[in-house]
């Protein structure tokens, strides 16, 4: 068993275990931490696939950004010792049923399907290639989505500020 294969199984195990724990634990802060583990392990998978840039983005943006954001909001809205009540039976049944049926269906489909392996030469995914293609206007250029997503991020930032902003008048009334 090569190291890569071992790493793959290790990372997959971490991902699956902590995903399940993240959605089942009754302490919310733990859930956030388990999510962090899942995200980090996912970035490990990206390294295995030799998408180093993507793995770095995953680490910084997800692990460093979003999870921190989530933890902040948890701290803002909960006591650390807060435990959830058990989910309603109906929701439990619905969720588990969907998950079982859905994953069964998808797995059955993809395991019976034979993917054609493509042995073309791998394109090196280094920083300069990504940068060139992202800002290129030619074939396979992504400048338009790039600009769009920058506007989207700006809009989201403004929206987040406005939505979460404290209403001065309201507070003065309270």
């Amino acid at each position: 068993m090569s190291l890569s294969v071992f790493m793959f199984y290790l990372l997959s195990g971490i991902i699956l275990t902590f995903s399940v724990m993240s959605v089942t634990t009754r302490r919310i802060l733990r859930a956030a931490v388990y999510l962090l583990f899942v995200l980090v392990a996912t970035s490990g998978l990206y390294f295995l696939l030799k998408y180093e840039f993507m793995a770095a983005v995953q680490l910084t943006l997800y692990a460093g950004g979003i999870v921190v954001l989530i933890i902040f909001s948890i701290l803002l809205t909960h006591h650390i010792s807060h435990r959830f009540t058990r989910p309603a039976l109906m929701n439990l049944l619905m969720g588990i049923g969907t998950a079982v049926v859905g994953s069964g269906l998808v797995l059955a489909t993809l395991l019976t399907h034979s993917f054609k392996a493509n042995n073309a030469a791998e394109l090196p995914v280094d920083m300069s290639a990504i940068g060139n293609q992202l800002l290129s206007t030619g074939k396979n250029g992504y400048v338009l989505p790039f600009e769009l997503i920058s506007i989207l991020l700006l809009a989201a930032m403004i929206a987040a500020i406005i939505v979460a902003k404290k209403d001065k008048n309201k507070n003065s009334e309270i």
């Binding site: 929701n91 619905m94 969720g95 969907t98 049926v101 859905g102 269906l105 489909t109």
Partner: protein
């Protein structure tokens, strides 16, 4: 001949007046609508006279009058060959009808200023009068049978509106419904006839249909249904439409009831114009009927003859002054139909056709006069019933004089217009069909009798107890009376044989003394009988009535035709046809529709609970639905 484009104004002015008085009539004083309508109608009247003068006397051609179409537009274009046009067609009969309609309508407009004064709905009345006049004018100048049909229905609608003018009175409402339903029923025949005719000939245009020696019927001769040729069917069905409007037996039942409308309306619609639409229709289609469907022509003749006799007999026993006049109208319409039924085509043979149109013209004048005179009497006495009247000649000299003239005219006293036209009809009947001649001869006597019975009862005899002393009507009402009286006297001197003929070529018509003298004698005999029986109040008529017993009762009740119709419709059609259909409609068709509605409502009430507002349930539904769709795509559809 050109330069007739202005004739479009003749129907358009009443249309504009209808719209103006109908839409704005509420805002004005009522009298404004009346005056406006009258002025508009007067303009149309003058224009019609100009048109007639120009058409008949402008340039008299040896080969007869031409058919002029000053304007025509394609109105509905169904296919390349099936186009419905709207236009104006001028030929002798349509020009004559223009004059008749505008004259009578103008007189009625004028007269109504006095008669309808102070009635609620005065403006509405004038709006409807204008609508009616517009429709009727559109009908007579129609260039094709479909345009005629459209205006025909408009005429029916406006007649319905005017009969039901006093819509608070149940009897008026019933009468208007009856008139509408009966004529509408007949119009069904008309429509089917039009469809058959246009199917076999491929055209609606009168110009093509009535052209002498036309070839469009070439292919039609071979078509037949139930052993009778398609054209005979078409013509007979069209005649049924005409019979409905002209109240020919057995579709006559609506006309006496239509007298529920205001009296000027009766004069305009149910005496002079609308009811002659059927006669006009037959005259319009005359070449087709005569050459292609001789059997239909026979039917027309016999129906006309029977109706005239039948109505004249009923008229003798009636006591309602307007109903007597209504049955008299039926009888005279029967005359006109009969004349068409016995007519030939072209030259001297076309005497019946000419006589029919002639009688139509004179009848419009004297019958309008009779109705307006009756209106004047009713206005004074406030009753329709003859037994409430008597000795009126002292109070109402002008009405008395004009009414007497009208009675003499209709009775066929020499040198008045009725004499000439009736004489022509009798002459035409004599040459063609002895039986119909005999019928008409008797009817001439009966007509004189019942008209003078009416006259003597109303104007002579003892005074009744009136609520207030009857007085002569105002000038706006007596002027039309006098005008129409003059027209009734002198209309007979118009050289109709040179103007309105079947093939549009003038011919000489001579007085047939062998016919004229006996008809005058029987007319005078009728008058004499009426004088004997009714001049002085006596017990004689009652004794006679008792002696005739059953026959009198039957006649008095109009031979129970209304009852027969009621029996047929109410007992048979309602019970055995309408009721099952209504049940089917209510329970099966409606039930189905209502079922759809209630089912939807119930189902939505049930599934309303699914809209819980719970995000997670929505998510579950979304994912489950996606999965279900995927499953079905993968395993069932592939």
């Amino acid at each position: 001949m050109t330069g007739f484009a202005y004739t479009i104004l003749i129907p358009l002015i009443p249309l504009v007046m209808f719209l103006v008085t109908g839409l704005l009539g509420m805002k004005w004083k009522p009298i404004v609508s009346g005056i406006l309508g009258t002025i508009g109608m007067g303009t149309s009247f003058v224009l019609s006279l100009i048109t007639a003068g120009k058409y008949f006397f402008g340039s008299h051609l040896a080969e007869g009058f031409q058919t002029i179409i000053p304007m025509e537009i394609s109105w509905l274009r169904f296919t390349e060959t099936l186009i419905i046009k709207m236009g104006i067609l001028l030929d002798p009969i349509s020009v004559m009808m223009l004059v008749v309609i505008t004259t009578v309508s103008f007189m009625v407009h004028l007269y109504s200023l006095g008669y309808m004064k102070g009635e609620t709905g005065f403006a509405r009345f004038y709006a409807f009068l204008s609508l009616f006049t517009f429709s009727m004018l559109g009908l007579v100048i129609a260039t094709n049978i479909f345009q005629m049909y459209i205006f025909w229905e408009l005429v029916g609608v406006s007649s319905f509106l005017l009969i039901g003018f006093y819509y608070q009175k149940p009897s008026a409402v019933a009468a208007s419904k009856k008139a509408f339903i009966v004529t509408r029923f007949a119009d069904l025949g008309f429509l089917i006839g039009i469809l058959i005719l246009s199917f076999v000939t491929g055209t609606f245009d009168f110009a093509q249909l009535t052209q002498p020696g036309t070839t469009i019927f070439g292919s039609a001769a071979s078509m037949s249904f139930l052993g009778i040729s398609a054209l005979t069917w078409a013509m007979t069905l069209i005649f049924i439409g005409g019979a409905g409007k002209s109240a020919m037996f057995p579709l006559h039942i609506w006309l006496p009831d239509a007298m529920e409308g205001p009296t000027p309306v009766s004069a305009l619609i149910h005496a002079a114009t609308m009811v002659v639409a059927g006669v006009f229709l037959v005259a319009r289609m005359f070449p087709v009927i005569h050459f292609q469907a001789p059997a239909t022509q026979e039917i027309i003749g016999y129906v006309g003859g029977f109706t005239s006799l039948f109505a004249a007999v009923i008229a003798i026993t009636q006591y309602d002054i307007k109903r007597v006049l209504a049955f008299s109208t039926l009888s005279q319409l029967g005359y006109m139909m009969l004349a068409l039924g016995v007519s030939g085509y072209g030259g001297e043979d076309g005497l019946g056709y000419m006589a029919s149109m002639f009688h139509l013209f004179t009848h419009a004048m004297f019958k309008a006069l009779l109705f307006l005179g009756a209106g004047s009497i009713i206005h004074a006495v406030h009753s329709n019933n003859m037994s409430d009247m008597g000795g009126l000649r002292k109070y109402m000299p002008i009405t008395h004089a004009t009414f007497l003239i009208a009675c003499l005219t209709i009775a066929g006293v020499p040198f008045l217009s009725g004499f000439f036209s009736k004489d022509e009809i009798l002459a035409a009947a004599l040459h063609h069909n002895k039986l119909l001649f005999a019928v008409e001869f008797i009817v001439a006597g009966l007509t004189a009798f019942y008209m003078f019975r009416l006259y003597f009862c109303v104007f002579w005899g003892k005074d009744r107890h009136y609520h207030h002393t009857p007085h002569e009507s105002p000038l706006v009402m007596t002027i039309p009376l006098m005008f129409l009286a003059v027209a009734s006297v002198f209309a007979g001197y118009l050289p109709f044989a040179e103007l309105v003929t079947s093939d549009k070529i003038a011919f000489e018509s001579q007085m047939d003394f062998a016919v004229a003298i006996p008809s005058v004698l029987i007319g005078l005999f009728g008058i004499a009988m009426a004088w004997l029986l009714y001049k002085k109040e006596s017990a004689l008529p009652e004794k006679l009535a008792l002696k005739w017993g059953v026959l009198y009762t039957a006649t008095f009740n109009k031979f129970y035709f209304d009852e027969i119709y009621l029996f047929v419709t109410r007992k048979i059609i309602f019970n055995y046809i309408s009721r099952p259909i209504a049940w089917f409609d209510r329970h099966i068709i409606d039930g189905f529709m209502v079922g759809i509605g209630t089912t939807t409502e119930k189902v939505s009430y049930r599934i309303k609970g699914m809209q819980s507002g719970q995000l997670q349930q929505y998510a579950f539904m979304f994912v489950a639905g996606t999965l279900a769709l995927t499953l079905s795509m993968l395993y069932f559809l592939m």
